[in-house]
Amino acid sequence: MSDRTLSRKMIPATKKRSQALDVWKRLRKSNSAIAGLILIFIFLCLAVFAPLIADYENDALKMNIIERLQSPGADHWFGTDEMGRDIFARIVYGTRISLFVGVISVSIALTLGGTLGAIAGYYGGKIDNIIMRTLDVLLAIPTILLAITIVAALGASILNLMIAVGISNIPGFARVVRAAVLSIKDQEFIEAARAIGSRDHTIILKHVLPNSMAPIIVFATLKVASAIMATASLSFIGLGIQPPTPEWGSMLAGGRAYIRDNMYIVLYPGLAIVLTVLSLNLIGDGLRDALDPKLK
């Protein structure tokens, strides 16, 4: 008797663990995904432990004209910018902003776009048509241009930046979630849930979405990468994070005038963008292969 209850308890637990474990096992085999994970871990550490690495007020913000435009060396690993601020310190604090804005704006897009996509996919018919045709309008404007327009209207601030990047990514998430829901909603276990009288929102939240997570996770990972890129782009043209707050894109904009003799001034902040975006792309690609081995 006790054996039987034990085994009954064990079944769901082991099954759940093995699924995640399977994915992890496959992911671990991919060198590039591991490289991506290590890279993003380093950036996360930089973001979390930034105050231990550099002093925000003195190194990243305070102007120091005597030390302006110094080449990389022992005192300043990545040199100093046009205001004499330490570029390394500014990159470290910039990591916080980039990761934060990237994750929050994707969360906005995932919540709003995901809800719309799930409703459209689950109910189909007229509702589907209305939602998707409306999103076609958003899709007709290239993502970054939509974000630029929104920030231009609302004004440049970190909140508006996240709203803009978030909204401009809504149609993408709606499409992915809709496709995922469509592929699963006619399966037998959904029918079974309906048959025992589950409500629609319970079915969507408890049965449909958990079973269509794979493509959504992959898409979200890749979108955090492009949101980080969008943040830097908007800041570069003066519509994102405003100076003197250290942000990679606005560091590039500030250093632009000095590239003739000080190329390091744009080299390192740019490399920070490339490496962060690259690491997320590597993880996204690796996850896609690990979650759906058929595609490889």
Binding site: V137, P142, T143, L145, A153, A225
Partner: protein, 308 residues
């Protein structure tokens, strides 16, 4: 075929009407009184009131939108707030430059990406394939404004081969076009490779090989033609990325196109000009996707047969 083209064209109109309304609405959220911005802080209340009336700013948004649409159909996009010049005229003057830049970029990326994608797929996991895919992923991860700055440092400031900005002759086109092309080259390469890989495993490829068709012919005639369909889709989507990228690339290279015009207009709070630029960008993007959809029908007879 004509039926199909007409059907697709009909779909363009409601989307464009929606796009213009959306952009109109977003831009109307701009805080601050337009009349005060145009006239400056020193203006008398009377003049501000007159100008508000003249521009129709006191009308409800939907009426303003209606008036804008009526003007737009006649080719009138209003006047710039900062220069007083016609928006349509300014855009007409700048658009060919953006067109030249984006077309060159997309041409470059197709020219580079399709062969690399095909070779990578036919030699999967070879050194060529591995290096190609790593380079492609790095290419996707580079922001165009940074790539542009690095290219300027290397090829313009250090080597002096190309001008660092402006638009004078073919030499000044090369750096911005390459900058713009990098990201789309990378993603078209990846798509071509993966769709090639899928096609190569199909039965009809095995059949063709078994019949003794030469390797080159199998790849070019049987595989590539079928693999091109997803690649063409990505080219269409990449065009949107390219138009967005043009805003940044034109800023970096001081290229006198509508991307730079848009950034300058945003900085000057020149609403009608911003509105005009976004509309032109969205319209170009929609037209490119229309052309892509029609191209499909040429590449894939199955689509054509659905509509004839």
């Amino acid at each position: 075929m004509i039926k199909y083209v007409i059907r697709r064209l009909m779909m363009l109109f409601p989307v464009m009407v929606g796009v213009i309304f959306l952009v109109f609405f977003i831009i109307s959220l701009t805080p601050g009184d337009v009349a005060t911005i145009i006239l400056g802080d020193g203006a008398t209340e009377e003049r501000i009131k007159d100008l508000r009336e003249e521009l129709g700013l006191d009308d409800p948004l939907i009426v303003q939108y209606g008036n804008y649409m009526i003007d737009l159909v006649q080719g009138d996009m209003g006047k710039s707030y900062s220069t007083g010049l016609s928006v349509a005229g300014e855009i007409k003057q700048r658009f060919p430059n953006t067109f030249k830049l984006t077309i060159t970029a997309i041409f470059l990326s197709v020219l580079i990406s399709i062969p690399i994608g095909v070779i990578s797929a036919t030699r999967q996991y070879s050194i060529f394939d591995n290096i190609g895919m790593i380079v492609a992923l790095i290419g996707i991860s580079m922001p165009s404004f940074w790539t542009g700055l690095i290219l300027i440092i290397l090829f313009s400031l250090k080597l002096g081969w190309f001008p660092s900005g402006g638009m004078k002759g073919i030499m000044s086109l090369i750096l911005p076009a390459f900058t713009l092309a990098i990201a789309s080259t990378a993603s078209i390469t990846r798509t071509t490779r993966s769709s090639m890989l899928e096609v190569i495993r199909q039965d009809y490829i095995t059949t063709a090989k078994a019949k003794g068709v030469s390797r080159r012919s199998v790849i070019n005639k049987h595989a590539l033609k079928n693999a091109l369909i997803p690649a063409v889709t990505v080219i269409g989507l990449e065009f949107g990325v390219l138009l967005g990228g043009a805003v940044l690339t034109e800023t970096v290279f001081s290229w006198p196109g509508i991307g730079r015009l848009m950034v300058e207009s945003i900085q000057r709070k020149d609403t009608p000009m911003v509105l005009g630029c976004v509309i032109v960008f969205a319209l170009s993007f929609s037209i490119v996707n229309l052309i892509i959809d029609i191209l499909y029908a040429f590449i894939d007879p199955r689509i054509k047969s659905n509509y004839s």
